[in-house]
Symmetry: C2
Subunit: 274 residues, 2 copies
DNA sequence: CTTGACTCTCACGCTGTGTCAGGGTCGACC
DNA sequence: GGTCGACCCTGACACAGCGTGAGAGTCAAG
C-alpha cells in the first residue's frame, strides 16, 4: 500500500494526475479511507500505472489507455493501439514536414520580397473553350491540391490521346469551391480544337469571358507558385480591387522537357473595382 | 464590405472562428452595425485574414499571430515567428520519431513476449566499491538518459586513464531520483581497485549491500534493454515483491570490441517481499 | 406578410494538466 | 497533550482552439 505521493513518485506522475485518473475511472485506488478520504494504492496497481505513463508518453489518449487496461486480451488490444498510434504519428510527422517546407518557402519569399515589386496587370480575359477533367482536393493549400493534380493530368492526356487529339497549349487549371463542403474543386484542361468535339473521359467546357481580371506572371517552378499567389492576393487588395470569382492558372510555357525553373505561368483572378 | 458569412468563405474559416477572432481582438470587423450587431469586414481585412489562416495552418498560436498583425515592421516579426515555429516543428518531428521508435520496440516485445518467460532471480547483492561520475538526465526513459550516458562514460574513462588506473570490469550504472526535481541522477562507474584511491575527476563510492534484489540478465544491445526492464518490473510485481531502491545496471560483458548484440547486462533492483 | 437564409449572444463541451484556496490528517518532536 | 511541517482532501478556474446548440433578431426575396 502506497500513499498517493509515493505512488506518484514511482510513476513520475503528478499527484494531481493520479487524482484525475481516479476521477475519470482510469485508475481507481485500491482502497480509500472512509474517514479521511486518503487514497491508497497497491503494488499490483503499479503495473497499471507504468502502462499508463508509458502510453501517455507515446501520446495515447486516456480513453484509449482505459480500453487497454480493461481488456481481456491485453496484448491484442495493446498491439492495435500501438499500430494505430504509429499511423497517427506518421501522419503527424508528414504534416509537420509539410509545414516546415511551407515555412521555408515563406522565408524565401520574405527575404526576396523587399526587392520585388508586384507587376499585376488588370485586364479583361476572353472566353475560351477547353477539354477538361475534374477532381476534388480535401482542402485549399498546395499540400492538399498537388497530389490531386497529377492523376488528373494523366487522365486528361490519356483520354485526349486515346481520342486522337493533340494537346493544344496552353493548359489551364482552375479551382472552385464546392457548395456545402470543405473540399475544393480542381479542374485540369487543355485548349480545345477550333471545332471542339466531345469525347470519352473528358468534358468540353467553355470558360466564360471575364470583364476584369488581376493577372500576374509566375516565372519559376511549381513549389514556389505560392509566392506569386501571395503577391497577387495582397497586391490586388492594395490596389483597391476584390476577388469575385475562382482563380485560373494558365501554363504558357510548361513543356515537360523544359526545366520547371523556366516555366511561365499566368495566374488570373476575376476582380471588381471596389 | 462583406458579411461574416462571405468573409468566412474567402478565408475558408468557420463563422464561429471569425467571431472568436473578434472576441480575442485578433481581427475586429471594420464595422459593426449598432442596431443589429451584424459584423462587416472590409477587403483590406482580407489580407489580415489570409495571414491568419496561413499562420494558423502552420500551427502558430493566435497570440503570436496577433503580434505579427500589430507589428510595425511586419516582415521582421514574421520572420522571427517563422524561424521559431520551424524550430518547434523540428523538435516536434524529432519527438514523434522517438515515439515511433519506442512503439516499434514495444511491438517487438509484444510479439516475442508470449514465448518468453521471466527468468528473474531474487538474491542478495554484496557491497562494492567503485570509481564513479555523476550526471543528470532531464527525465526518465531512454530518450532522456542515453544522451547523458556517453559523455559521462568518456569523462570517467578519461579521468581513470589520466590517474593511471586500469578499467576494472564490470562497469556499473545506477539511477536515482533527485529531491524536488523532475531530473534523474545518472551514475556511471567502474569497479575500484582492491585499495581504492581517490583522484581527480571521479569519486570513490561504496555501493551498499542489498539484502534482496530482483535480478534479470539482459542479453542483447542497449536499445532493447527496455524490454528487459519491462520484464523485470512486471515480473517482480507479479511475484509479490516491490521496489525499495534505485536500479543498477551491471555490464558483465560489454567490451567495445564485442558487438552489442552479444553484450550481457544484469539489471538489479532492490526489493522487499510484500 | 411570410419564409428561409443569415446573424446575433451566451454558454457548455472537449483534453490533459497546472495552480490556487481553504481545510483535514498524520507522525514526529517537545 | 500540543504544535509544526509534510502530506492529503475537494472544488474550482485556467489554458487553446474549436464544435455545437439554444433562443432570438435581421434581411431580402417572393
Amino acid at each position: 500500500m502506497y500513499t498517493i505521493g509515493e505512488f506518484a513518485a514511482f510513476g513520475r506522475v503528478s499527484v494531481r494526475m493520479l487524482r484525475h485518473y481516479d476521477a475519470v475511472g482510469l485508475l481507481r485506488p485500491a482502497r480509500v479511507d472512509e474517514r479521511s478520504g486518503y487514497r491508497f494504492y497497491s503494488n499490483a496497481q503499479l503495473r497499471d500505472l507504468l502502462r499508463i505513463v508509458e502510453l501517455r508518453g507515446l501520446g495515447c489518449g486516456l480513453d484509449e489507455i482505459a480500453v487497454v487496461l480493461e481488456a481481456d486480451d491485453e496484448r491484442e488490444v495493446m498491439r492495435d493501439l500501438l499500430v494505430r498510434r504509429a499511423a497517427e504519428l506518421e501522419a503527424s510527422v508528414a504534416a509537420d514536414r509539410a509545414r516546415l517546407a511551407r515555412i521555408g518557402e515563406r522565408l524565401r519569399i520574405l527575404e526576396g520580397e523587399h526587392t520585388m515589386s508586384a507587376p499585376i496587370e488588370y485586364r479583361p480575359i476572353e472566353a475560351v473553350t477547353v477539354y477538361a477533367v475534374e477532381g476534388r482536393a480535401p482542402g485549399a493549400g498546395p499540400e492538399n491540391v498537388s497530389p490531386v493534380i497529377d492523376p488528373l493530368l494523366e487522365r486528361l492526356t490519356g483520354s485526349l490521346r486515346a481520342a486522337g487529339r493533340e494537346l493544344i497549349e496552353p493548359g489551364i487549371f482552375w479551382y472552385d469551391d464546392i457548395e456545402g463542403s470543405e473540399e475544393l474543386g480542381v479542374h485540369v484542361s487543355f485548349t480545345a480544337d477550333p471545332q471542339p468535339q466531345a469525347g470519352e473521359g473528358y468534358d468540353v467546357v467553355e470558360l466564360p469571358a471575364v470583364p476584369l481580371a488581376a493577372v500576374v506572371t509566375h516565372r519559376g517552378d511549381m513549389p514556389s507558385i505560392g509566392e506569386s499567389y501571395d503577391l497577387l492576393m495582397n497586391g490586388l487588395i492594395d490596389d483597391g480591387y476584390r476577388m469575385v470569382g475562382p482563380c485560373r492558372e494558365v501554363y504558357l510555357e510548361a513543356d515537360d522537357d523544359l526545366p520547371q525553373s523556366q516555366w511561365v505561368t499566368e495566374l488570373q483572378v476575376p476582380v471588381e473595382r471596389n
